[in-house]
């Protein structure tokens, strides 16, 4: 069984997810940010399933390992769709939403094809290795997409506060995970480093919930606050 700290982080993360969905419903934003809500609902369901499997089989059991990595693959796809939904909203005013969806489908198929091509070379169990690799590859595609999206937000002088903050949260989230991975490699023996990834898992629903609670759909940022562009 995981330690008390891990269980506490797990509980906080699940409560944060419930908090975000509740705030979205209360602020009548559930459908506006449907794919973000869907990701958080999937994450909550995956955590419930993982907790159930962990309770019955244990942390290092094959059942928990497979439940963890297969649900993780589904969650990464859901997160990718959430990033694309934000991109669609940002580019909607330029009538480019259709092309954003086209790029998204190409990216998803391309990543799946690339992953299959890599995994097919290996003699390991194909389905499991494919799930883990696809999850990791999509994570990096999501990371690059989020940074491109942030660039677009700055370039287009996007002023919708909620959109800007949600994209920024995603950028921080992906970057912090990469940072925690680096720390895990630099100092694998420190116990506190093991808790970094689960703590970061709480960050996204909390930041989205705060954004939904603090700002309305009509809230706008002044472009000058986004970036000072020299003329």
């Amino acid at each position: 069984m995981p330690s008390g700290i891990a269980l506490a982080i797990w509980t906080v993360g699940m409560c944060a997810g419930v908090c975000f969905v509740t705030c979205s419903v209360l602020r009548a934003s559930f459908l506006k940010y449907f794919f973000l809500n869907l990701y958080v609902i999937f994450a909550f369901s995956a955590d419930l399933l993982r907790q159930f499997v962990l309770r019955y089989y244990g942390l290092q059991s094959p059942e928990y390992i497979y439940a963890y990595y297969y649900t993780d693959c589904l969650l990464t796809i859901a997160l990718f769709v959430a990033v694309i939904s934000l991109a669609s909203r940002i580019f909607a005013e330029l009538n480019l939403a259709r092309y954003v969806r086209f790029v998204a489908v190409l990216l998803l198929l391309g990543t799946a094809g690339f992953t299959y091509a890599v995994v097919a070379q290996s003699t390991e169990r194909l389905a499991t290795k494919f799930a883990v690799e696809l999850s990791q590859n999509l994570y990096f595609v999501g990371l690059v997409l989020t940074y491109l999206l942030w660039g677009a937000v700055l370039k287009l002088r996007e002023t919708r506060t909620r959109l800007v903050q949600m994209v920024l949260s995603l950028g921080l989230y992906f970057s912090a995970y990469a940072g925690s991975y680096a720390l895990l490699n630099l100092a694998p023996n420190y116990e506190v480093v093991q808790y970094l990834a689960p703590i970061l898992g709480c960050f996204l629903p909390i930041s989205w919930a705060l954004t939904i609670m603090r700002y309305s759909e009509d809230s706008r940022l002044t472009p000058a606050r986004l970036v000072a562009v020299p003329r």
Binding site: P2, A6, I9, W10, G13, M14, A43, A46, D47, R50, Q51, L54, L59, Q60, P62, I65, Y68, Y69, T71, D72, L75, T76, L79, Y99, F102, V103, L106, L107, G110, T111, F114, T123, E124, R125, T128, K129, V132, S135, Q136, N137, Y139, F140, V141, G142, L143, V144, L145, Y173, F174, Y177, A178, Y181, A182, L184, N185, P188, A197, P198, I199, G201
Partner: protein
């Protein structure tokens, strides 16, 4: 048509960039993969031998 080709080029560029970044980040990694989902404890990687 040119917009569709542009979209195709963009998708390929993102994919290549992402895979380059992955290679850079994970090339010297000794620990498990990067996973960006959820708050549950991360188990070890699935067994690598076929079963």
């Amino acid at each position: 048509m040119s917009r569709k080709l542009g979209a195709l080029a963009l998708a390929l560029g993102i994919l290549v960039g992402a895979m380059e970044l992955k290679t850079l980040v994970t090339a010297h990694g000794k620990t498990a993969v990067i996973l960006a989902n959820g708050v549950s404890p991360v188990p070890k990687l699935p067994p690598s031998s076929s079963n």
